[in-house]
Assembly symmetry: D2
Homo-oligomer: 263 residues x 4
């Protein structure tokens, strides 16, 4: 971070109103209108994060970096249900994703999980994402571009029924309606000893996946769900929020063993 670059997404923070504006510099041009006057977008580039910029009326905004969390929660354009940080962070760790890794996934959805993978694999890694629907690809790539992560992602506009091209992926992740149909493809794409991850919203799908996984040489099978409960941050009256998400998805993990596949 440090210095604002022309491809960054920045947050302009109004500390009086505790209000944020998200601004993608690669797309926004000319003037940016706030409710307290205009900002010359070109003036943001080269400034230090944490510094202050003034509108033509003299009002001040703090220039903050847009974290991956901010973007996923507040700015990602959603055409689909997304994978939230509570799940995507655990998925990435559970799949052992790290700088330099090749991650293969399907589908791309709105790109929220893709972004987390791309964030972690770094410039030396690569995320290959298979997706059938062109409108999802277009939207997800737009989201990834705003995050400055699109160069780490290769999208293949293809049905995974045809299989994956990759055979030595460090991790494979499936977020499709009927993942049990593609366990064989995922098995082939994955390095032996490495982790497959699958996300499904219903217990019926978990049941189908487990039935299919049993037929392949996988070990360390885990089915989990994660609940995140936030608290009201008032120290004199500390208590959880009134409501919370009750469910996002079930997460399934399994490790590939070598062996003849008996289907």
């Amino acid at each position: 971070m440090g210095i604002v670059k022309e491809t960054d997404t920045v947050v302009l923070y109004d500390s009086e109103k505790d209000k944020k504006y998200f601004l993608n510099l690669s797309l926004a041009k000319g003037k940016f209108n706030t409710d307290k006057g205009e900002i010359n977008i070109q003036d943001l580039i080269g400034k230090k994060y944490g510094s202050v910029i003034e509108t033509h009326k003299g009002f001040k905004y703090v220039i903050l970096p847009c974290t991956l969390y901010d973007f996923i929660m507040y700015k990602l354009n959603r055409l689909t249900q997304i994978i939230y940080p509570k799940d995507s962070a655990y998925i990435a760790l559970r799949l052992n994703v790290k700088p330099g890794d090749l991650v293969v996934e399907s589908g791309i959805g709105s790109g929220a999980m893709t972004a987390v993978f791309a964030h972690i694999v770094g410039d030396s890694g690569k995320v290959v994402s298979y997706e059938r629907r062109e409108e999802f690809i277009k939207n997800a790539l737009s989201n990834l571009r705003k995050l400055g992560l699109d160069h780490r992602v290769k999208v293949k506009h293809r049905d995974i029924a045809e299989g994956f091209d990759e055979t030595e992926a460090d991790a494979v992740f499936l977020d499709v309606r009927e993942p049990w149909l593609y366990i064989d493809k995922a098995y082939k794409a994955l390095k032996t000893g490495n982790m497959l991850g699958i996300l499904v919203p219903t217990v019926n799908q978990v049941i189908e996946v487990l039935k299919k996984i049993e037929k392949f040489p996988f070990i360390d099978v885990e089915v989990s769900e994660i609940l995140l409960r936030k608290y009201k941050t008032v120290p004199e009256r500390l208590r959880p929020e009134d409501r919370m998400p009750a469910h996002t998805a079930y997460l399934i993990f399994a490790r590939k063993l070598p062996g003849i596949v008996e289907v």
Copy 2:
């Protein structure tokens, strides 16, 4: 991964017994005794992960990579309560940690959180860990060495009451008994606009931290707890495990704004 290196920790998997041996090659020398015969440790180096090695009696083990998750859950030597993957994965994402980052933390504990940070920052990043107790440092470094992550971690054997040396950390994380005493130090060490993370086990500590954070120019304060529930993986009788962790810790996050610190 790919090829077994002499600094790796490997997993030898007995598929008949569904049993694993963890073996750190940089420490282990000579012969490794399994209950089915000896393996010449030198023979493991250079083998492909996923390949098979035989004991002198002809029994076969599959050579698997040791993931960060495996190591933290099953092999990390614990002198302290550790931070579990459900929490550490979310903390790392929430603090926006990525390849190349400088992360500052205190204390090192048994190194479980340190390892997750080091795993993500990659060889171009650095984790600086402040710790007062020498036995914790020694143990944590031993754990990090077995993970091949120690070269990304710099330990400072010092009390953070003296402050941090760093002033432009991409993220700061506190896991100490009285974190409210060091909010000012953490504030100074952190880049403006970036995230501070704090972990505490009791609500009394959450209250103290919130009271102190209010006095500094922080925004986006979040207090959360994460529950991970695992399921029994029998597709014909799918149901959660009987018991689960009820609590590990409360997670607190805040973003640094610029400004005069009024304490």
Copy 3:
């Protein structure tokens, strides 16, 4: 149940629209207007629950009993935060409330907890409820009347700082802002060996209550919270609801031992 009485609250169910009307017979007089025509209220009395009544236009409604759960969730007039069935059911069992018991509580709130106690103690039991605020008493009694439970409840319009009149209560329950101020009064009102229950929304209050309870001869102290998660009832796509209550209250229980009270 069985036969509709003139003091009952009944549910008129439109099975085409899956829509319910709640109708309190002791209050409603004359005609009841539905969106499918009028019903003569007098005609309902004496009918069998589960039977059908027709509007003057010939549309049919099923006459259903109004359960305590229905009333609390959908019809209770709320001037305060109420105690929900997931909590009130557990409280009543934990306090060992049963037919014939004398339960002492404060305050009455909107009467949701009072109703559960009154429901269980039956006509041979009694709930004595202390409440300072007249508008709460009026509203709660109105709710209890609609449930046909008001004759089992005696309200005392008084501040419990003056203490309780009762000395042999089978159970005592406190739902007040600062319950720690009245632990001594509750102790005196309660039969030795029996259970005190306290409900508070914040952890700060739990801390204060625990500090005070330690000074009295109580044993079996429990602090609990209950999470109820509902599922979408589609068998082909079984999964939890998207959102749920994250928090209602902390429940505290303690059993009175005999002994000199040292305050």
Copy 4:
């Protein structure tokens, strides 16, 4: 409560050791041996609860009533998985069980749910329990006898495939392996407008039940699970217990409408 009766189960409490003895007076005869000397059992009868009894060596025990909660959690003899208070209290409220009710259930298991129903229906109500296995009946009745609740329970040693004798039950509850096979029998046994409850441990069973319930005129179908989290009761370090039950069972509720049953 008040005075100890010869059919009671009492708790003898040693306040020095914070230790409890449960003693069923209808079964125990002669002397009761504690680690601080003998108590003449006959001497307990007629004493006031909360009073003190001395051993022949002069040590003191407090005589406490045994609550239903105590008995279920600590003294109920278990031949089966039992239904815990967090679930049984909610089930009883959700089924609208109250003094005077007729509750029909199957099977009896170890009698934990039966006891809660019997506790609430009082002497004017009745619980009819169908159970095929004689050893379960014997054990459950022994448990109910120790609670002084057996006179409110009528056990029918019969398979519910033959149907229930009752046709106007205020509530019907099924805790059997394949409850979907008996939805028709339960429907017939239940008063129209009243609630059916079903408990199953696996999601596969929930799916089967929902598929069957759809074919009957039921409304207000609910599937829920309840999590109870306890806290360590130290006010200076308030935090949840380390571990908790992750799962006991899924609870299903439905309300009977009148109508032709189409199976």
